[in-house]
Each structure stands twice: as C-alpha cells, then as structure tokens.
C-alpha cells in the first residue's frame, strides 16, 4: 500500500505562497501527472512528498501514516530532479549504484552490478557506464538521473520533467518504458511535465495547479473534456483550445462570456465564413490557421488537405464549451 494523501497542505517561501491549501488523494499504483506553468507549485509538491521541505500547515500521509516527521530515507521515495543532481565526482556506474549501496538495502555486489547494467540497458546508456557524470550530454545526464531512481523499488516515484531534454525519438521510447515499469511494479508515481502527450498517454490522473492551488484533479479524458475553467482548458490539447467571445456564434447560453473551441468542436463546410491564413502540414495532421471575425482560430483538417492561403471556408461550433466572465466553465458533459 502506498497511497499518498495531501491534507490542506500549504507552503510559503518568504513572501511567495508556493502551495495554498492543496488536498489530493493519490491512489495506490496511480500515475499522477501535475500540470501548470512555472511557479505553479509542481516541484514544491514533489519536494514536500519527498521530505526535502516541510509543509507550513497540513498533513502528508503515505500508506496510511503521517510522514511529517520522517526523513526522505524513511519515506522510501525515489526522485528524478529537474537539474539532474548527479554526483559529479563519480562515474555513471557509481552514480547508479549509489542508492543500492544504502545500508538500509544492503544489496550484494553482484546484485548491484546486475541491476545497474539492467537499468543502463533500459535507458540505452550501457556504453557510458565508466564515464564520469560530468562528461555526459544533457540527455545522458537526465537518463542517469532517471536510472538512479529506477534501480531500486521504492514506494513512490517522484519525477520532475524527467524526459524534457531528450530528443523526440528517445522521449517516445522512454515514455512507453517508464509507463511499463510503473505499471509492472505497481508503484505510485507523481510526474511533472509540460508535454501534452506525456500527460494524456501516461497519466491515470491529472492534477492542474494554478498559483499554488489545485484547481482540478481527475482522469485525463475528464480534465480534457470537462475543464473547470479556461485556465485548465488551455493546459491540455494540441493545438490549444480557441477562446473567443461567446457572441460570435448564435446559441450561446445567457451569462456566457467566452466560447472554448477545440479542433473537434469546429465543423467545417457549414456555418459562418472564415479565411485561411496559413496551412501547416505536420505529417500526421494538418493545421489550419483561420481568420474569423477579427480573431485567429486554429483547427485541424484532413492530412491531405488542399486548402491554400486565402481560401474561404465556413465553420460552425458543435458541442462547444462555454465559460462565464470569471472564466468558470458553464457546460457540463461533452
């Protein structure tokens, strides 16, 4: 059992409120992705759970026990730091073996070597094992940092943008690998990312943070389809949701200030006219940048679209999201 519960946790650094009254239940074996811009409190949340910082108020419960007075070692968490935090005077092998050599684990030497090698294979760095940690590229350092978390089997994994400095191909491979490892071990994982695809494909739950407050927590599809506010709506979706004045289209409910249109909410070929500004062929999708009533609207179209700049097409909203003046979502259900 390694359920993680945050109970009204607040944390202040000097004058800035990093976390304000955050409550969250992370079920055992869940994969939680935390979303939010820089400074929203994602890293602070991880550090509090790890035990590197102490909350000012509130309680943190791991596996049914309050861990406020526990050291990071007692909490048995593994963390991938944003800035890698490798031991610069050690080789990659020594870095990976470091957590295994904890007296708390007391792993035999051949076991250490076997595990280090296995993890290095997973992360595709076996040829770098004898390099010094400082002689690696950014992506390699990041992989060593992930490896250091994966060599042991802790109760909880905390990962702070672990794939951010990898190239697209490796990122896609490791995304699958990480999800696989997490599912196999049944470990609880808290994961910070800016990457849409990572959030949508890996998470069982998504938590959206805004200036230290947890504004929405739920399944990825649910957060995507029923965002509580314009803020949450802009966190997910590629291309981003189009936020337009609600009165541009007929049929807005009373009190609606903003209409939120994701590409799938825009029906092409009927409705009001729009001008094509730009066509982007991304390979797996084609994006249309449209000018519509003085606003720019981005949507997708079929891959082999023959639209060109200056074309006139007509569009119509379908089961769109409506938000009131405060940005709160008025629509329920997609």
């Amino acid at each position: 059992m390694s359920e993680v519960v945050l109970e009204s946790v607040s944390k202040r650094f000097g004058d800035t409120l990093a976390l304000a009254d955050v409550s969250m239940v992370v079920p055992d074996g869940a994969f939680v992705v935390l979303l939010g811009p820089t400074g929203a409190g994602k890293t602070t949340t991880l550090r509090l759970i790890a035990g590197l910082d102490r909350p000012d108020t509130g309680n943190i419960v791991i596996a049914g026990q309050s861990v406020l007075d526990y050291t990071p070692a007692q909490r048995d968490v593994a963390m991938v730091f944003q800035q890698y935090s490798l031991y610069p005077h050690l080789t990659v092998r020594e870095n990976l073996a470091f957590p295994l050599k904890s007296p708390l684990l007391n792993t035999p030497a051949d076991e250490v070597e076997r595990k280090v090698r296995a993890v290095a294979e997973t992360l595709r760095i076996p040829h770098k094992l004898d390099n010094k940690a400082t002689e690696l590229s950014g992506g390699e350092m990041q992989r060593v940092s992930i490896g250091r978390a994966l060599v042991r089997q802790p109760q909880i994994y905390l990962m702070d943008e672990p794939l951010s400095s990898l190239d697209a191909k490796l990122r896609a491979e490791l995304r699958v690998e990480l999800k696989h490892i997490q599912a196999n071990l049944g470990a609880t994982m808290l994961y910070v990312t800016h990457d849409q695809i990572e959030a949508m494909t890996m998470a069982t739950h998504i938590g959206v943070l805004e200036e230290g407050r947890l504004v929405q927590f739920g399944a990825p599809r649910d957060v995507y389809e029923n965002p509580v506010s314009t803020y949450v709506a802009t966190r997910l979706g590629q291309p981003r949701i189009n936020l337009l004045p609600a009165d541009l289209f007929p049929g807005a409910p009373s009190g609606a200030e903003t209409i939120g249109l994701r590409p799938e909410h825009i029906v092409q070929g009927e409705g009001q006219p729009a001008t094509v500004l730009r066509v982007e062929h991304l390979g797996d999708q084609t994006r249309l940048h449209l000018r519509f009533g003085g606003h720019e609207v981005v949507t997708t179209t079929e891959v082999h679209s023959h639209h060109a700049q200056g074309d006139e097409i007509s569009i119509r909203p379908q089961s769109a999201l409506y938000f009131d003046a405060a940005g709160t979502c008025m629509t329920t259900g997609a």
Binding site: A50, G51, L52, T71, P72, A73, D76, V77, A78, M79, F81, Q83, S85, L86, Y87, P88, H89, F98, P99, S102, P103, L104, L105, R148
Partner: protein, 315 residues
C-alpha cells in the same frame, strides 16, 4: 571623406607612426609588450639562480672578495650530504613541516565544516578566525615569546590551569623537547585560518541539491560526509597543503623571532641554517650548494604533488 567618428580617429593618428605600427606582425607587437617583464624576470630571478649554481661549485667567500676563487667541483655537495648538522636541520624541517600541516588540515577542515553550517553570525566568526593570518609573522613571533614566558606568559598559565602543574615548571622555548612543538603551535595558530578559508571555498562549491539527492538515495549523514563532502573538498584541501608545504619548507621569520634556531640547534630549520652558513660564517660557495639542494628538493616534491593533485581533480 565622411565625418564619422571612426574616420576622424584614423586621420588623427600620425601617418609615419601608423605606418610603422602597421608594418609589424602581431607576434612582434606581442614581444614588445612582454619584453619588459621578461627582462625583469631574467635580471632578478633567472640570473641569480644561474649565478648561485655557478657559485656552488666554488670556494668563494663573500666577505673576502679579493681572494682567488677556485672551482672545486662537487666537493661542496659532498660535504653537505655528509654533514650531520645539515641532516639535523633537515630533520627539524621535516618535523615542523609534517606536524604543522597535520594540525592545520585537521583543525582547518573541522573549523570550515562547522562554520559552513547555516547559523547566525557565521560571517563575523569567519572574520574573527581569519585575523591571525593578517598579522606580520615577525609580530606574531614576538608576542608569542611573551605568551610562552614561564613566569608571566598566558600560555603557561592556561596549561597550568588545566593540568594543575606549576606554570614556571616548563619553558616552551627553552626546552630541547618542547621548543620544536612550540614553533608548531605558533605556526598552526597563525595559518590554520588559511587552510580553513580554502576548505570553506571547497565546501561552498558543493551544491545543496547533491545532498538532497543523497538524502533521497537514503545515504546517512556519515555516508554523505565520506562519499560526497570529503572527495569533493579534496582538491581544495590538497591545494591548501601545497601552499602551506612550500611556505613552511622555507620558514624563516617566525621561527627566528621565536627561538632563533635554539635551544642548541633543535629548531634550526633548513633556511635558518642556510642563512647562518651564508651570512654569519660567510661560506658562500658552500651555502649556494645547500640552497640549490633545497631548491631541487622543494621543486621536486611540489611537482610530484601537483601531479597527484591533478589526478584527484580528474577523478
């Protein structure tokens, strides 16, 4: 011609000079700039060194400049290496060198480690601790002779207070057994802050997040100290030892002020012995040879040490 600032500048340069400077290669201009320094270096460093080597093969005595100078080959070197006085002074130097470095590293690192903890007023403490090394060695030597006074000295009083012995029952500077330790104590008092400062720089260069990672990796404080702190401070510590080693190999002023090499010749370090041979006994050729031997020794030791230092840094 247009009146931009650049063209005006170019016109302002006198034509003949501009042409001359333009005629020189970059290399030639570089040589013109370094020439004064090279000349000074040759005049005050290299020439005296070569001249000393030359003198070390002669029986020249500087107080008898008119006497005919004879080249006597390696006889000076032979005599030095078989002279028991010289060996005694080398032993005194080795004793001084070893124990000063031992205590300064031990105490200096400990102080640095303590002062690196985040507590109120640690900057003030750093300044206070560093004070001794800002004093002149001659002054330090002079006032420690008072502290070591058997009748009125504070040092004797403090030792007596803690051990219960009679303060005038021992003389730090007058006793054959205690004098070598007396100079070790004073040098340690004066230069431990230096080692501390360098260790502190080393400790401050270790980022907090390394310790955080170690916390997460479940390393105890003890293990963090031995696997992170010590190896990462080691290059700094070795540098401090190099500086102190070279300095103390040629230690002169402080010890002359304290003991003058006595009692007997128990604190007569190599450099004090050398000064005696050269400017009291006026055996210029002989002392030149001794100087060369000392130079080669310290140069050799330092080179080996620097190699080791680089190895630690690359590790």
């Amino acid at each position: 011609m247009s009146e931009s600032p650049i063209t005006r500048m170019a016109e302002a340069t006198p034509q003949p000079l501009a042409r001359k400077v333009r005629g020189l290669s970059d290399r030639a201009i570089a040589w013109i700039f370094v020439a004064p320094t090279i000349f000074l270096l040759l005049a005050v460093n290299i020439f005296p060194l070569i001249w000393t080597i030359n003198l070390s093969f002669t029986n020249f005595k500087a107080n008898r400049p008119n006497r005919e100078v004879e080249y006597i080959g390696l006889r000076n070197y032979e005599r030095i290496l078989t002279d028991s006085d010289i060996w005694l002074s080398m032993q005194a130097t080795a004793h001084f060198l070893f124990w000063t470095i031992f205590f300064q590293v031990l105490i200096g690192f400990t102080l640095a480690w303590l002062i690196n903890k985040k507590f109120k007023g640690n900057d003030l403490w750093t300044t206070i601790i560093v004070l001794p090394m800002m004093l002149s060695p001659a002054v330090v030597g002079n006032f420690w002779t008072f502290l070591y006074q058997p009748q009125i000295g504070l040092f004797n009083y403090v030792v007596a207070f803690f051990t219960g012995a009679d303060p005038s029952s021992f003389e730090m500077l007058g006793s054959v057994q205690l004098a070598p330790w007396a100079i070790v104590i004073v040098d340690t008092w004066m230069w431990t802050p230096f080692v501390m400062l360098i260790c502190l720089a080393g400790l401050r260069s270790i980022p907090d997040y390394i310790y955080e990672a170690a916390e997460i990796d479940r390393a105890s404080k003890w293990r963090q100290f031995w696997t992170i702190t010590v190896p990462m401070v080691m290059p700094f510590l070795m540098l401090a030892v190099l500086f102190r080693g070279i300095e103390n190999f040629k230690m002169f002023d402080l010890v002359v002020q304290l003991t003058g090499g006595g009692p007997g010749s128990t604190t007569e370090l190599a450099s004090i012995n050398l000064k005696r041979e050269a400017f009291e006994k006026w055996r210029t050729g002989y002392s030149s040879a001794f100087a060369i031997i000392l130079f080669v020794t310290v140069f050799g030791l330092a080179s080996i040490y620097v190699k080791a230092l680089n190895k630690v840094k690359d590790r």
